[in-house]
């Protein structure tokens, strides 16, 4: 019984790629692929976390003092924003599973709005740091400058009158910008993915049988959220006791 590929491919399922035997196999492949990809992301961020661990253990005081200069309020709001966005994303996935197109689109858009909010707040924070000359670069027109603040002097007394080395403070800031910057880049990519999902949803591409793009994108979004959950305390909260 010769069956050519063309014959059997007739309208089996929307979205079933020709090289898979059935939707189950395709779904399995997609899910495993996304998890494997997230593992690579862990390794990518891992390098930065490793550098953080190394330099923080070398210069604990400078890290505490530098972290103290970050805006904890904004960081905290951002954390809440991201957690809520994970909630809206999860709801979006749920509605794609039950086939509710309008609510799916609504929650995808809500997720995007929250993501955008995160980025805007981040931008404000970066601007603050820029103005305070805390961006750790050395150009002709802009140099990193560290002026100890009043609270630091108090904190410094608590740390048995140890003064800080600005070079080591600078270590903290490049880690801050590198880690949050790479994270923000992933958020932007996530927004792009969500936009694509919204467009696909509007065209009716998702059904209860086929909605894995939404699920897989959900995985990605949750991962980016979890990275932030680690970044926030490590970057913002280690100097809190110095107030």
């Amino acid at each position: 019984m010769e069956r050519s590929l063309a014959d059997t491919h007739v309208a089996t399922s929307v979205g079933l790629a020709h090289h898979f035997d059935d939707v189950e196999q395709q779904r399995e492949a997609g899910t495993l692929g996304m998890w494997a990809f997230l593992v690579t992301e862990v390794m990518f961020f891992g390098g930065l976390f490793l550098a953080y661990i190394l330099y923080r253990s070398k210069y604990p005081v400078e890290f505490a003092v530098a972290s103290n200069s970050l805006n904890v309020t904004m960081g905290f709001i951002n954390t809440l924003v991201l957690i809520c966005s994970s909630l809206t994303m999860a709801l979006g996935v749920y509605f794609s599973q039950v086939g509710n197109r309008s609510l799916l689109i609504l929650f995808l858009i809500l997720t995007m709005i929250l993501g955008l909010t995160f980025l805007v707040i981040k931008g404000v924070e970066y601007h603050e740091k820029y103005v305070e000359h805390h961006v750790p670069v050395r150009f002709q027109t802009y140099q990193f400058k560290w002026e100890p603040r009043a609270s630091e002097a108090r904190g410094a007394r608590e740390e048995s009158s140890r003064a800080v080395d600005t070079g080591h403070v600078e270590m903290f800031f490049w880690l801050y910008f590198a880690m949050t910057g790479v994270h923000a880049l992933h958020m932007i990519i996530g927004l792009g993915i969500l936009t694509t999902l919204v467009l696909m949803a509007r065209r009716g591409r998702f059904t209860p049988e086929y909605h894995s793009p939404v699920e897989l994108s959900g995985l990605y979004w949750h991962f980016v959220d979890i990275v932030w959950i680690f970044l926030f305390p490590l970057l913002y909260l280690i100097g809190a006791h110095l107030h």
Partner: protein
Amino acid sequence: MQVSMPFSPDQASSYSGRVDSLFAFLCVLTILVGVSITLLIIYFAVKYRRRSEEEIPRPVAGSMKLELTWTVIPFFISMGIFVWGSSIYYTMYHAPKEGLEIYVVAKQWMWKFQHLDGQREINELHVPVGRKVRVTMTTEDVIHSFYVPAFRIKLDVVPGKYSTVWFEPTKAGRYHLFCAEYCGTGHSRMIGWIDVMEASEYQAWLSGGATEGSLASSGEKLFQQLACITCHRSDATGRGPVLEGLFGKEVQLQDGSKVTVDEAYIRESILNPRAKIVAGFQPIMPTFQGQVSEEQLLQLVAYIKSIGPKASGETGAKPSAAPPAGSPQTGR
């Protein structure tokens, strides 16, 4: 037992022979393994060559015993090699506390040597036979690597820290010194010589050289010039710790931890005074980063060492202090 390998440089240090012995063993092992497997493959390939296009040989069962054997035996051989290699490494990288001190500053693309008595050499180092030589090194710019094939020793020099090797030359002669870590355009020409001389010739060479005074005295001059004396006085009235008798001791820092006052600590404290402050002192020492070169740092280090507790450290400047022949460093 000293083994001599073909294609090897002179064996000119006390551990060269140990390296060559291990190398020779590894060569023998490699030849044994390589030849036996090659012969076996040739034998099988000939004996079992395909005679007809359609033949299908009978499957051969695997053998757990064989697998275990050829896993466990190589494992034990490897562990033996590991232990042997580690013990040589340990010797190479644990410099004796006393020895003829040489300070080295590497830079693109030359080696600058300083003897304690003030002799300066560029790209050529004179040392006597039979004395342990401690070489403390740093670099002004990029990473280089101090490599003397005849001594079988190599160690990178890294900016921002001191690295120390030692060797005991056993044979007079002139041996290559190479930079072994790629460092830019002039990497291939960052080479020089180690001149190992008999003890008497070495003394002659030392006294013949024009010097500006010993390394330590240059350091003392610098100490005055940079006004270190203002805070680091010999009595306890200064704002900084007393430096006499300090080198080599353990001190307690502000955060409670302890540190030994060695070359690295002194260098760090000059360049980055707030890093490790001794308990009981204020963080008021200014930094001298950018005001002292690596060589000047070594002079200061040598000075502080010279006013440290007197170990039987050799400076090489005073002929009367030269140890008698057959002194206890041979230990073989």
